[in-house]
Symmetry: C2
Subunit: 81 residues, 2 copies
């Protein structure tokens, strides 16, 4: 069994309205020092198998097909046994 | 200027319907080796200031007040200059 983590972020230059909303809320709470906010997600997968290289390839496929919207998002994959 | 990253995850034992839905979709795509999926988010903040210790304390406050729902989520904070 391996643990794979897929980290998904908006590509640079893509507007992040959720991040903007959080920034505005933080300012309203008095945290004026916050200049920029970006929101991303990560997906942790428990995957059967022992071949970490093959698992990484399969998880990259999953990210490409389902987990990330590659038009506006980029992703990275980490696998540990 | 410092970069703070807040990592927010559901507490263990809290149901993750989004993760379940992803798992089911992955199975439907033929990725039967995926046994469990959990979804988390991270928030990257650009923060003015030089005192990393103070920034970390302030960002923990922000996470506690706004960024995480501490009833069902746990968070961790990383700060780099």
């Amino acid at each position: 069994m391996a643990i794979a983590r897929v980290i998904v972020e908006l590509k640079p230059g893509v507007l992040d309205p959720q991040g903007e909303a959080i920034k505005n809320s933080l300012h309203a709470l008095g945290y004026e020092e916050v200049k920029k906010v970006r929101v991303g997600k990560f997906i942790t997968l428990e995957v059967e198998g022992n071949d970490l290289k093959e698992i990484e390839e399969r998880v990259k496929e999953m990210a490409d097909k389902l987990l990330a919207n590659v038009v506006i998002e980029k992703f990275s994959v980490q696998v540990e046994g």
